[in-house]
């Protein structure tokens, strides 16, 4: 049985094999102290399976899960606490609000075995904390997306869980709304101090929330630490793409200039040669480099007098507006993706088939495995 009051670090080591046992879906070990820990990775990396295992909705093949002193699962000693008594709160991507119950009934759903008075007080407290008290009598179909998210959070937290799992709960909300909800969540957690695992594949959310991040790919932990350390120097291609490096290119090492701390590489089969930070490689090796589309500069004339070492000539293949940006695809022998502002598109008179020059700073080029 789980004790009443707890707060502790989540320690998990989980291996989940496919039914044929020939391969695994998940093989991870990590710790998450109280506070927000981001679980970051491309879709299909195993994040949702991991959350299902922590919540008790899926059973790991082997492993152990504990929060502080409370063991929730241990394959070695046949412990498998059922989801009903794990005291793990889980906000699904779909939120799964009960459509036939009001906001208040949804929030009160998990509160039982306490007096009517306590129940009312706790519901009231959390409705206030998440700013949904005025919606108490509405059905989920009658409130906005942000309000639904707040209701789902309140419903999970009112039961005083010892762990909160959030599976991309804030996708589809605008940044301002998202920040406001996250602030309310943080404020609530100052008093409770439980570990919160927050799954996302949005780089923006990581930057907005992140104290710690655990990067997952192909069912394995591929990095953990501060967001900057984990995601700005990605060492795996898929993760690089997921972390917002739109350009991941294969290149051949041409020569190493150890004194300058750089090396020259040739991109793909093209004639493009660029300078990138020196890495542990030898001449002739194939390497992968990752470059953010936002780090690629475009010029309508050949630029001169630049500190940036890499200037590539190319032609615009396509221009697509996306939100407040424009995505340009440029053929320089290899195809680059660059983000430019609509203002820049007008000022440079960018158009499909127009000749342009790409400018890349050496240190915007990251090497990945």
């Amino acid at each position: 049985m789980v004790s009443e009051v707890t707060s502790g670090t989540l320690v998990a080591s989980i291996r989940k094999e496919r039914p044929d046992a020939a391969s695994f879906i998940l093989d991870v070990s990590f710790e998450a102290p109280p506070g927000i820990t981001i679980l970051f990775g491309p879709s299909g990396a195993g994040k949702s399976t991991l959350l299902d295992c922590l919540a008790g909705l899926a059973r790991p093949t082997t492993g152990a899960i504990a929060i502080g002193e409370n063991v929730l699962f241990d394959s070695a000693s046949y412990i498998d606490v059922s989801p009903q008594v794990r005291r793990v709160a889980y906000v699904f991507q779909s939120l799964a609000l009960f459509p036939h119950l009001t906001v208040e009934q949804n929030v009160a759903y998990g509160l039982r075995d306490i007096t009517q008075q306590d129940r009312r007080a706790r519901v009231e407290e959390i409705l206030q904390a998440f700013r949904i008290a005025r919606l108490r009598d509405r059905k989920p179909s009658q409130i906005s997306g942000g309000e639904k998210q707040r209701t789902a959070l309140a419903r999970s937290l009112v039961t005083r869980p010892q762990l909160l799992l959030l599976d991309e709960p804030l996708t589809g909300l605008d940044a301002e709304l998202k920040d406001a909800i996250v602030e309310d969540l943080r404020a609530w957690n100052i008093a409770k101090r439980i570990p919160i695992l927050y799954v996302t594949h949005s780089r923006e959310e990581v930057d907005a929330l992140g104290e710690r991040v655990i990067a997952i790919d192909n069912g394995r932990v591929v990095g953990h630490g501060a967001p900057m350390d984990v995601l700005d120097a990605p060492r795996r291609k898929r993760l690089a793409q997921a972390a917002g490096f739109e350009n991941v290119l294969t290149a051949t090492v041409l020569d190493l200039r150890e004194r300058d701390g750089v090396m020259r590489i040739r991109l793909g089969e093209s004639a493009c040669e660029i300078e990138v930070p020196l890495a542990h490689a030898s001449v002739g090796d194939l390497v992968q480099i990752a470059i953010r589309a936002g780090d690629v500069l475009l010029a309508s004339e050949r630029p001169r007098g630049l500190s940036a070492r890499n200037v590539l000539e190319g032609r615009i293949l396509s221009l697509e507006p996306r939100g407040t940006m424009c995505v340009a695809r440029v053929d320089c022998g290899v195809t680059f993706v660059a983000h430019v502002t609509p203002g820049a598109v007008r000022a440079l008179e960018l158009a499909v088939a127009k000749q342009v020059w790409l400018v890349l700073k050496t240190h915007s080029c990251h090497l990945v495995d």
Binding site: S82, P83, Q84, A89, F92, H100, R112, D137, T159
Partner: protein, 226 residues
């Protein structure tokens, strides 16, 4: 007792019983992971394809003084089952079983699994989840099951004829009555009853389809929010 009220009584009893036993069966069919589930599904659907006379024949054998059910009944209550109202109810329950179980099963299955997960994570056991989440969300299925088993029992003929015979006030249901009157060339009386059954059948189907198209959904939402 006239044949119409007898039919209504029979259909009412059968629908109520079916709702009670249909729910656990439908729940099990909807949520069990057992691989042999198709066996039970087939048994439940059997009355759909079986001629009513076949079903009625075996029901009569089982309920007869030498049948297992008949013997049991005589031992318990001192009289047989065949040609009684109770016997008719029992046979009709079997005959209309799929009409109750199918809509219930379909609507249980249609409930988003994540809602059930959410309920479990909020500490609710299976019974509470069923009562507070599955059942209210399956209300259209519940109404459909109730109405269809009622209507189907109301219109049955073959099974009643085999098991119930034709005893006025005891087992002479309205469909048998119509048949009787046609046999004795009372076409006007037969037509009155037939027309009534037709109207009832149409009204019942309207009800089922309207519930499933959620024609009254806004009103229901207002009512249940109170």
């Amino acid at each position: 007792m006239n044949s119409l009220s007898l039919s209504f009584e029979l259909a009412g009893c059968v629908a109520a019983i079916l709702l009670l036993i249909g729910m656990p069966v439908a729940y099990w069919l909807a949520f069990s992971n057992w691989r042999g589930k198709f066996l039970l599904e087939s048994v439940v659907a059997l009355p759909l394809v079986l001629p009513p006379t076949v079903l009625g024949f075996y029901a009569l054998l089982a309920m007869g003084p030498r049948g297992p059910l008949g013997k049991l009944w005589i031992a318990l209550f001192g009289h047989g089952l065949a040609f009684t109202f109770t016997g008719l109810v029992l046979a009709s329950v079997v005959y209309s079983f799929p009409f109750a179980v199918q809509p219930l099963m379909v609507s249980f299955e249609a409930v988003d699994r994540r809602l059930l997960d959410a309920s479990a994570l909020l500490g609710a056991g299976k019974w509470r989840t069923f009562r507070r989440i599955i059942l209210p969300l399956s209300l259209p299925g519940l109404v459909t099951a109730l109405v269809l088993s009622f209507a189907h029992t109301l219109g049955e003929f073959g099974v009643v004829l085999m098991v119930g015979g034709n005893l006025a006030g005891v087992t002479r249901t309205v469909s048998i009555d119509i048949y009787d009157r046609v046999q004795s060339l009372e076409y006007v009386a037969a037509n009155q009853l037939a027309l009534l059954l037709l109207a009832i059948a149409f009204a019942v189907l309207c009800l089922v389809y309207a519930v499933n198209r959620r024609v009254w959904a806004p009103a229901w939402t207002r009512w249940s929010a109170k």
